[in-house]
Amino acid sequence: MLGKLLKHEWKAVWKVPMLLIGILMIMAMVAGFTFVLPVWDSEWVGLPLSGVMLIMLFYFTIIAVSIGITIYFAVRYYKNMFTDEGYLTHTLPVSARQLLLNKVITMSAWNLIAIVAVGLSLLLFGGITLWALMPKDSSFAREVIESFAEAIEGWPEALSSPYMKGFTGFCISLLLMVLSGSFSGTMMIVGSINLGQMVRKHRILGSIGAYFAINAVIQMFNMMVMMPVMFGVENSVSRWEGDMSPFPMFTRFYMIMTVITLAAAVGLYFMSEYLLRRQLELE
């Protein structure tokens, strides 16, 4: 049944986030193509300013799309589970666990897609900018390309140097943080909405309040755990030597953050499942 739920959920949701991602890509191209326009050399300040504004607009679109996708899925979760639509959702012959897993998997996957899309839009912007600048200032563009080529060529050697020690571990920890972040971000939303339902008369307000409360608790816990680590870092920095690699320190940071947010997300998942199974009250 989970497979069927996922199939219908995916079919129902893909249009809105894809539209938002499409807008993001268009804005990346528009911002990149501003470098083709002859606005930058204009003596009238308005023209280069409008170019800057377009690039800024791309920046704001990244934020708007990330927030937009999150809000879209939060509203959809609330509507599907706790409004009139819940009368269909909760009368399907599936368990509360399957209902929840369906939502969590879909939302986490779209969180990841959004992160990848933001990365791609930045690459698109960078690529178009480089392409646009090439005819104007070929030496600059050539330098950038050559630097890239050199970096790739010298990569194996650079990796074996002492100041790159632990780089692979750092990359893995970063990847783990992004992956767990997609899940924990989803659970923050889902957990808050489920908890908000306990405030029967003000469910939406309850959900918003729960979101900030959960966030505050996680931040506080993060701070408590990070404090001793920070002291450790301070000691390391005071004993810093030129050939020391910074990556193991960052790896430790990221791993601790990942474990904390993952633990909170797992806790929120089980709380949500319990609330859906034992405390469901549709209006």
Partner: protein, 233 residues
């Protein structure tokens, strides 16, 4: 086993200590059309929601076909709520595929035939339909299942008299002999002719559970008239 639903000592208390169901005991048999009747706030919808697992009981239990409300019971109960509950953005054809995927007892050909009889296009999106047509679509989807228990909450409240006749005809012609239909409504005179039994509820308690025939014989009046007498303000 002739009992389809068994309600034992069921109590539901909402916030501020409002008692919606008060230690209710009830047995719903198979193969009957039963009217669940009572004034506003008597506990009809609360009972229906509890049977469907949409609320959590404060005390007591409900057994449907021997199991508590859950995936197993939901696979044999077909429920029509008193509100429009399908996603507005969906097409009717998508709804049919949705129901086909999730309910083994759903008969898409039956749904398509009923839609065609009413001149409702499968390609239409729900948001383009009037409230009355949406309600008809909902009823068609619910009655196109070969369920063991149909629970219809106010199925004829918001529609015109002609549509009421169609709905009642649909209910009678689509349920199988071993299934039970539980209809909650205020419009008793409209449905009285199709009922086998009635349940009167007041203040979360069962006031009466009897056959329509018995009421007519013993009280010498219709269910509608008897209801008005019992619940006179």
């Amino acid at each position: 086993m002739n009992e389809l639903v068994v309600v034992n000592n069921l109590t539901k208390v909402y916030e501020k200590k409002k008692i919606a169901l008060d230690h209710m005991n009830l047995i719903i048999p198979r193969g009957k059309i039963i009217g669940l009747l009572g004034p506003n706030g008597s506990g009809k919808t609360t009972l229906i929601k509890l049977v469907n697992g949409l609320l959590t009981a404060t005390e007591g239990e409900i057994l449907i076909n021997g199991s508590q409300p859950g995936p197993e019971s939901k696979s044999c109960v077909s429920y029509l709520p008193e509100r429009t509950y399908f996603q507005n953005s969906m097409k009717i054809s998508e709804l049919i595929s949705f129901f086909t995927d999730f309910y083994k007892d759903f008969r898409p050909e039956r749904a398509k035939m009923m839609l065609s009889n009413l001149g409702i296009h499968e390609d239409a999106r729900l948001k383009t339909l009037s409230k009355g047509t949406k309600e008809k679509v909902q009823l068609i989807m619910v009655m196109s299942r070969e369920a063991q228990l149909y629970i219809l909450d106010e199925p004829i409240a918001g529609v015109d008299p002609a549509a009421r006749d169609y709905i009642l005809k649909t209910i009678i012609s689509n349920y199988n002999e071993n299934a039970t239909v539980l209809i909650s409504t205020h419009l008793i005179s409209d449905i009285e002719k199709v009922l086998d039994e009635v349940i009167f509820i007041r203040n979360g308690r069962i006031l009466l559970h009897d056959t329509v025939e018995n009421i007519r014989e013993c009280k010498g009046k219709s269910v509608d008239a008897y209801f008005r007498e019992v619940f006179a303000c």
